[in-house]
Assembly symmetry: C2
Homo-oligomer: 128 residues x 2
């Protein structure tokens, strides 16, 4: 057995835990209080805005699910919240009527662009 791998993994996990909790809590609080967005809601907007450049701003639920650490049901509800808030629209897919296309609305794009600097500055504070 290799010496050191034992105690070290625990310390590494501890450190990961610390970084994750402090960062995600601060992200959550800042995004919520300043932009009325939860962290996973912001991350959906982030992924959608990435798709914007590539595929005309459309994304399938399944693709989003694969890109995020969120269960299918949680994603579905998160999108429902965003839709209710008018930040995102669901559109049926012509070729597969089971699937949904998601698009940022103008309001969604605006909200995301307002929130992105907040998100970025928290990350820089913790990782910069």
């Amino acid at each position: 057995m290799e010496a050191g791998s034992d105690g070290d993994v625990c310390a590494k996990w501890s450190e990961t835990l610390r970084v994750y909790h402090t960062t995600s809590c601060e992200l959550e609080n800042e995004l919520q209080s300043r932009h009325d967005l939860g962290l996973s809601e912001f991350e959906v907007l982030l992924n959608l805005s990435k798709c914007c450049g590539q595929s005309g701003g459309k994304a399938k639920m399944k693709d989003l699910e694969a890109a995020m650490y969120l269960s299918q049901s949680a994603l579905s509800r998160t999108v429902t919240r965003l839709e209710r808030a008018g930040l995102v629209t669901r559109a049926a897919c012509d070729f597969d009527r089971r699937a949904n296309f998601l698009m940022l609305t103008p309001a969604g794009k605006e909200r995301f662009e307002a929130a992105a600097p907040t998100h970025r500055s928290v990350l820089i504070k913790h990782f910069g």
Copy 2:
């Protein structure tokens, strides 16, 4: 502004997210299915067993709270679950009757020692 600090923080956060989610999910599942313990329950046992060597196996709620990434209320309920399961006992503190001392029961010690290798092996798998 320093070049690189921008895109990098996002990638670092992404990586932290990935490691945290994959590891904590696997810990949660393994501990739950093999030892009927949630991750935060295990972590309470872990902290208590650390105290065991130092202060006779007693720990105050406040000290645990400081050592863990859990709110006061969440910790209180986690300890309640552990107490119901017979793994931990609450004992009043003679000097400050607001505070509680916590102790591992023999069953708690046994359960922890059974679960610790599972915990360790998951960590080694992800960090080793």
